[in-house]
Subunit: 327 residues, 2 copies
């Protein structure tokens, strides 16, 4: 049986007996189905939480530098807080490892500590057990009362924006798999994009007052925009030429492959968001202030599909989809 | 290199760069080292969080009934909330599984839902990925402002109490391993103790106003009392004859083995706690009201060791220790 992760969650976990009943659990402002769940405590505090599990051999190479595994695990989880506009408070760690090797643990904890300090997100507790190498990280962040960047707020007429440049992390997977061996500098840029993603926390916070909907690019641009489109009940039209592709990808891949990677590759951990056109100039000013590239790549339309258009306005058939487990 | 889980955590994770700095993170009321971490939001709300990871083949048999795996995973995690006196709010789930098999998922989610409903703890979100079977559960609970049952509050002169009867879950592991094949009724009682532990949530809540320190019995009675003793800077003297042993254990094991299991076996998920002698009668009344067996098994003394005494007051040498990973 082949089930996508999303079908699996919908079928087995989004059932009445498991989900929060709004009457019984009024503090659960948002449950399954977004980057974070939201918990409200009284009128003043909103907590955003997100749990990510990274499996050796699936989400990272088992033989990777343990410092990079630690740094990346926390950064990737923090990207979910960024996508909701939340400010990091702390994280819990579930570490499963086959043997307690001193050098591995020293490297892993040093990488975690580097990310914890950089993003102001200390370790709160957790569980360490023997077993196949996996890293579970739950991040906790705070939000102003009543606020959050959610997937379900996009409106027809919104502009669609993305931060940064896309495709490098996905191409790095081919380097890691040994299918691609670019020159030193290009390889370093690709691997850095994969191992050292930068959660867009300051951007997410600033977008609380500007954007209608947001999410991080983890499954791939089209797949992640598809999540927003479905949750919001809208469609989107993207301009292929506007989608910002990583120079490291353009240096190595053909133009067609570069587009595929930018549209379909995951692990970029940039933010995609929709905002009213009245916010266009404030968003450009925000990008300049934060020194983050922010590109308007399309618009929200009536419908249900995310379509990619060429310079002539013709629909480009795109044979990419987000990363799917279990298929 | 052989490192206990506790040495590993102390050496690699309780480092200044990773832990919360009280000046920078005033909302972190309690970090690494207790059953839960505590987060304070303003003056009114305290959140208790705990992450548990269960690995197939280590914490449960991979071929176990998926419904029991789901039910037990949530119950075990909720026991950490009980140990702090917290009331469940909801849980997140990190599920890693090799194949998305419909019957397994239906059973697992039904078991989770049964526990979620029984304990008022809905699923808030999570992550489902492909990989070796593991179940990570983070529970979130609320506490009255400023309150919690912690490990570090035991005082010399306190009485030491335990809920329920001990040893059955540990003996069930021998049944699961095929080393023991008791008669039907005894086997059912043992397996039920292992698969269907009952988190002592009502007891924990009530103890907020009665106990000085508490923890759940997960590693084994002596090991878990050792955690309280170390955190509180005290010793303990236990009366061997007072320790309540499960009738299912007494029916199958010799008296000596039964004591070993009650003192050293883990997975009971009862509560151990210390309380002033002035609380003795209120605690007995509480047990009657909740219909939970509460037994005074010893007292807190000056020192650092948890000692077991026989009826004549002589020290009983006990060669048991809690479950240790990586050794």
């Amino acid at each position: 049986m082949a089930l996508s992760e999303f079908e699996l969650i919908r079928r087995y976990f989004q059932q009445p007996g498991l989900m929060a009943d709004p009457l019984l659990h009024p503090g659960v402002a948002l449950g399954i189905g977004d980057d974070c769940a939201l918990l409200d405590f009284g009128a003043a505090t909103r907590l955003a939480i997100s749990l990510d599990v990274l499996v050796a051999g699936v989400h990272f190479p088992a033989a990777a530098d343990p410092s990079l595994i630690g740094e990346r695990a926390l950064a990737v989880a923090l990207s979910d807080l960024a996508a909701m506009g939340a400010t990091p408070l702390g994280f819990t760690l579930g570490l499963t490892l086959p043997v307690a090797e001193a050098s591995w643990l020293a490297g892993f904890s040093a990488g975690l500590a580097a990310a914890a300090q950089r993003y102001g997100c200390p370790l709160l507790g957790g569980d360490t057990t023997a077993g196949p190498l996996q890293v579970a990280v739950q991040v906790h962040g705070t939000l102003p009362a009543g606020k959050a960047l959610r997937r379900d707020g996009a409106r027809v007429g919104d502009e669609v924006w993305v931060s940064g440049q896309l495709g490098a992390a996905a191409l790095a997977l081919e380097v890691l798999a040994g299918r691609l061996s670019p020159e030193g500098e290009a390889a370093a840029a690709l691997l850095s994009a994969y191992y050292r993603p930068v959660p867009q926390l300051a951007l997410g916070r600033a977008l609380l007052d500007l954007a209608h909907a947001a999410q991080d690019v983890s499954d791939g641009l089209l797949a992640d925009l598809g999540h927003i489109a479905r949750a919001s009940g809208v469609g989107m039209e993207l301009q292929l030429a506007a989608v910002p592709v990583s120079p490291a990808v353009l240096a190595v891949a053909t133009a067609g492959r570069a587009s595929e990677l930018a549209l379909g590759g995951g692990d970029d951990y940039q933010l995609v968001f929709t905002a009213p056109s009245a916010a266009h100039q404030p968003i450009e000013a925000l990008g300049a202030r934060l020194q983050v590239l922010l590109t308007c790549i399309g618009r929200v339309v009536a419908g249900a599909d995310v379509e990619v258009l060429d310079a002539g306005g013709r629909r480009v058939p795109v044979a990419v989809s987000g990363y799917q487990h279990f298929t």
